[in-house]
Symmetry: C2
Subunit: 492 residues, 2 copies
């Protein structure tokens, strides 16, 4: 029998059983995509739903793949929130694609652990090459290419990207000032910066009172003001603190605000600070010449990050990080135990990505990004981005035509921030109303959107970016929103 | 045409094109496994080999899947070190299996991002359930189960596991002593502890002079001595330092040393320290009743870690971590930005794994572990482990029969530490000889082994654990070793 040898021992990697079972899984997933619109987008299960549906312990004897498929269908899928549904408009997208999926398959099939060059030279070298490709596509300055002192690396997430550069910057300044200066070093970001910066500061031991969260205003469309930053820095310097890290964002999570990189970068440079640019979401758009302007000023950055797993058809996880000074990363993150020593590493002939990241082990991370770039090509990828932005424009237009709603911030990329206006003389400022609308809409299972708060206002976010989304889905989503709004307003 | 719509726009998730292409990839990978023994196990390419084989930039227009397959075959596979080869005996294994691979496929197919419960309840709940299953299989104390104050979580790697618990422990002690006490808090581990602890300390800002690396001896088979630990702690306390974290290992990376958990745990407890047990490699063996003894004393631990991606047939990455006090993790790692708030989280009705790990985003991590447990069942998994240990015994026996070699440390699990003895009157103490032997063997491409240094001796490590390895591979590997040794000794 396939899967066992003559003694009845398990053969867990029998090639023919692999073939048979993996083909079945391909069909299962293809069928999932065919029927994905039949599921409620946001899972409607209650907390704890799964516990009683599954046994208390692992089985002693093997179960069949059909048992698994039945359980996935009956027990797992009802608890899935369908990020790949064309009716998914929450948070930011997490793109899957055929190319990304094939890359995942090959990576899982080879199942190498590429911590050092020697453990699979192709894994390290392809990553260097493909991140050079992507850097060129984004027209990043040459200092970010691997040919010089810098280079790119794939992290799991933007949180890890900002953490590793924060650690590099922390250790750089502490090497100069001594490690007891930890209590004096200060991080700057805006109140729109992703919470990842706060978490990175917690991990790195930056004192919470030294994390400056600079307030932004609707007047600047929630961009970080260079003037206010300068004031904050001057104040800190005056009281003996040491500014060392600035995080700017291109396309904030709440509203796609774009911080003015050039002005901020010059401030960072003149104060000897590390300047990190988080373009996790909007970076993908910058492969289109007409959107490249939003990262103008990236020449001033020490590090730049974009998530290929968000809006670039590369399955989660794949967060591309570039640095100009790879030595700074390596100084913070390297270890060199005897059991990993090898000729190529000891001779400094190679990059060992273990020293550019938090974990030791790492997958063959670049395969899927390489396949996305090759199987689709640059022009298709640009069209893909432009199409989503056009769909967001379409949605924005629909909102603008309905006087019961307002678009809250100017739309730049594929996110529309809007809200239902509270009726005149209503005691609610609209926050409860919009929260109720959000809950009502997401409870339908027809679409899934999320929210934020800007200047105290509860805002609905409509983020276009799922690979299957077409104009008809956006139009239908707006109908759901209008209908639920009518119900809610009718009750007031 | 599949893959494009009527306007010629890309359809990156067309279900029928997905089906067609993914079936091709299944066959490609199945064929890889059929022919895996034809490749040199350790890649024999030179640094920089790939750069000139690939273009300088991404293509403007799509390339075909056949182009990709051709390039993988001709350019990528020569640069792959084949961790799944039956002749792979280096480091520790990184198991793939059909079940693990199917889990990867499904996870990549659904492509959800499970940071909060709401973003796919099934992802959080299945992980809780499956880690409870595995905890029961390992007979971990009930405090590690999710029903109480503890619970399990899947990290990417053991490095991340030790980092998150170190952060939890750091913040716990600093909440008591104030954050300026950072310079006073001390971490203890042995000189056999994985370098991940050193890296975690660097990241967490623990002062390097406060990282106690306690020397081990061959007389205790490189286990951490409770007496020496006690002395070190007493000395530190006497000079005003604060011991706060102890890392013990069951199955060290160099030689599978087993630290005495019970005695160490009691010392940690009586000094108010966090006690972490790293069983990254050997934890898998502890599902067999006859090996469970090696984690006796785990009742004293605050956290316990084993890597299902090493020797438990679950494709990389999958590192299972359990804690007794999940609140400590959450206190260190949680953030709660407005844009992620939701009813279930705000009401504290659910676990949000984003607060148990470094990154925000996370895959549907438990699917592959669930499939491994179900498709193989406990008895097969136990046989799988026992078979590898038997093969290691077989290899140990072969080494013992050849008087030119010695087995250096007692074999406990599936790793054999051995060396070629230097000829009498030879000026080399054997270190160069064994390094030469390692290089010679790995250059053949027939097998891949790695090394370590114990008490100044250069040691060869033969780690059995690849899913395809059978007795004939072990026997043939020994022949390669003997032949190369004969060549080397003949030259002296």
């Amino acid at each position: 029998m396939d899967g066992y040898n003559r003694n009845g021992d398990l053969k867990p990697m029998d090639a023919e059983q692999f073939r048979e079972h993996a083909h079945k899984m391909v069909d299962f997933i293809a069928d999932y995509y065919k029927t994905i619109e039949n599921f409620p987008v946001l899972s409607q299960v209650q907390p704890g739903y799964l516990r009683n549906m599954l046994p208390d312990s692992a089985p002693n004897h093997p179960e069949s793949l059909d048992d698994i498929f039945n359980d996935v269908q009956a027990k797992i899928l009802p608890g899935v929130t369908h990020w790949q549904s064309p009716n998914y408009f929450a948070y930011y997208p997490s793109n899957s694609s055929i190319a990304g999926f094939l890359g995942e398959m090959l990576s899982a099939g080879l199942n190498i652990v590429g911590f050092s060059w020697i453990t699979s030279p192709a894994a390290t070298e392809l990553e260097m090459i493909v991140l050079d490709w992507l850097a060129k596509l984004l027209k990043l300055p040459d200092e970010f290419l691997s040919a010089g002192q810098g280079g790119g690396v794939i992290q799991g997430t933007a949180s890890e990207a900002v953490l590793v550069v924060l650690l590099a910057a922390r250790d750089k300044v502490l090497r100069r000032l001594g490690k007891n200066a930890l209590e004096k070093i200060v991080v700057y970001a805006s109140d729109q910066t992703h919470s990842a910066i706060q978490k990175a500061c917690q991990i790195a031991g930056i004192h919470p009172e030294n994390c400056r969260v600079i307030k932004t205003e609707s007047s600047t469309n929630y961009a970080l003001s260079p003037d206010i930053l300068c004031e904050a820095i001057a104040h800190d310097v005056a009281i003996g603190l040491v500014p060392f890290f600035l995080c700017a964002t291109v396309g904030t999570t709440s509203s796609t605000a774009v911080d003015p990189l050039l002005a901020l970068g010059k401030i960072a440079k003149s104060n000897g600070m590390w300047f990190h640019v988080d373009a996790a979401y909007a970076g993908s758009a910058c492969i289109c010449p007409e959107y490249r302007q939003y990262i103008d000023g990236v020449e001033e950055a020490d590090s730049f990050n974009m998530n290929a797993h968000k809006w670039f058809l590369t399955n989660f996880d794949c967060s591309a990080l570039w640095v100009k000074d790879r030595t700074a990363l390596v100084q913070s993150l390297s270890t060199n135990p005897e059991f990993l020593k090898n000729k190529a590493s000891q001779a400094n002939m190679v990059v060992d990505y273990k020293d550019w990241q938090i974990p030791l082990g790492r997958r063959f991370r670049s395969l899927k990004l390489w396949m996305v770039l090759r199987l689709y090509g640059i022009e298709n990828l640009q069209c893909y981005i432009r199409n989503h932005i056009k769909l967001a424009e379409h949605f924005e237009g629909l909102v603008a035509q309905d006087p019961r709603f307002e678009v809250v911030t100017p739309r730049i990329f594929s996110l529309v921030c809007f809200r239902l206006l509270p009726p005149r003389n209503n005691e609610d400022n609209g926050n409860k109303l919009n929260n109720d609308l959000l809950e009502a809409i997401n409870s339908t299972g027809k679409i899934f959107i999320s929210h934020t708060v800007l200047s105290g206002k509860y805002i609905l976010r409509f983020a276009v970016g799922a690979p299957l989304t077409e104009e008809r889905h956006v139009t239908a989503a707006w109908k759901v929103l209008q209908d639920e709004a009518s119900v809610l307003l009718g009750r007031l």
